[in-house]
Amino acid sequence: MANKLTFDAIVVGGGPAGTSAAITMAKAGLQTILIERGRFAGAKNFFGGVLYTHALDEVLPDWQSRGPALERPVTDTGYWLLSPDSVLRFTQKSERYKKVPAESYTALRANFDPWFAQQAMDLGVLVITKTTVTGFLRDERGRVIGVTTDRPDGDVYAPVVIIGEGVNNLLTQQLGLAKSDLPPRYVALSVKEYLGLPEKEVEARFGLSGPDEGVAIDIFGDVTLGLPGTGFIYTDKAGISIGCGLLLEQLVINNLKPYEILARFKNHPIIKPYLEGAERLEYGAHLIPETGYDRMPALYTDGVMVAGDAAGMVDALHREGTNLAMIAGKMAGETAIEAHKQKNFSAEFLRGYRRRLQDSFVLKDLKQYRRMTDFLDSTPHFMETYVNFANDAAYRYFTAHGMAKRDMEKEIIRLLTRRRSFLGIAVDMIKLLRGMRG
């Protein structure tokens, strides 16, 4: 090849991490190429639905005027504890959520991600789709100076590469930044259906006054047969996203089909009426890295930084991930800008990326919840025991049987101790507390 294809920066992957990095660098005038293996940015992306505007504000302050592809603001949110025949709801709906922009929005990634990538293009990023990055180009000292792709003459050179390749972090592994493949104990497999339903129907069923309201609910208990995992329901503009995720290891050791768990969930007597008559428009599946702080890959090496799912940046407890990815992408981009100013792309210099993350909520939150996945894994009975107890107790509490309330309270205690000893409960609570407090 006569001319080497050379840029100031290469970004691998057109998801929230990669696109945020590309936008950040392009705004500072760096010649940036973003390489995406899908037919368009977002073609491979699939999630259970919420984007956070605080992250958009930081990456693209004028995002609101750029016509973002969002579904509904989240104005009613929380948890449902689902037992085989009941639900106990801990949700909040508030006028406080009704502001423009809202704190978070439901979204569909094959709509949002292309919009986001388009903003990068408008800012001067060269977005190349249908191209899979296969490996790295290195200088004589082994430092990364570019990438190889599956296109003929597809080598691309740049002094800095930002990897936002997603959960299947093959490139991150190739560089040795991830020491091993993802352990199935620390990865959730999520399946989801996007169901079409007229706007008015969505609003009537979920008690929404109009398109400026929406729900985002995480569901625990019977949805995953009591196994470690969650279900979710998000309202879209004219549809419902419903899905569930379990730690992959649980599916493996129990020989479970994820789509049967979802079918069972959809068929639950509490859930079914919400979905009546809705038409399945899409089914899909995706892994969620719940690897946690202690098993995160190294985030940088000579000429390379890693952001988003590829680096395990997911706070599963708060269903956050896209915002961690966007902020990490931005910080990787900022570090690349500094590296260009100093003409220094060494691992030592790129360590500034990790330092930035450490000062932000990204690594602080990941550190705080470092034990969360272990907690779920070591207390597999947790969901079933307490969710079913809570529903039984509530049923007892809300019904009258001509019984003294003191006796009713004793009965509720018995409902609990029948399931779990006081010592067992104490141990569970200590573990939960450790999981929450870090």
Binding site: R37, F112, V187, L225, Q250, L251, I253, P258, R280
Partner: protein
Amino acid sequence: MSEKKRTTLNPALAATLPPTNVDDLLVSVKYYVDEEYAHIRIKDDKVCAECAHHPCLDFCPAGVFTQDRTGKILVGYQACLECGSCRIGCPYQNVDWNLPRGGYGVAYKFG
């Protein structure tokens, strides 16, 4: 990995799972199938032959893995949703999983 603690699930609960044909779900998915390159491959059929539980037949959300009459595991890579579960979920790391070539594979319409 998997042999150390098989199933923690109550069989009565497992019996409540409705048999579901994954093909009914997959008709809603858009694919650009690469007829010339299978991005998933079984590394060694002998390893599958000795695998007791074949979890891949179940956990794959697209039902990519099936068994023929002789017990051999077949790979229908065309239906792959590219989640990557088989790469890490196979107890014997016997699945060679790569990214499809650029532009091929699943292309979500909604995501």
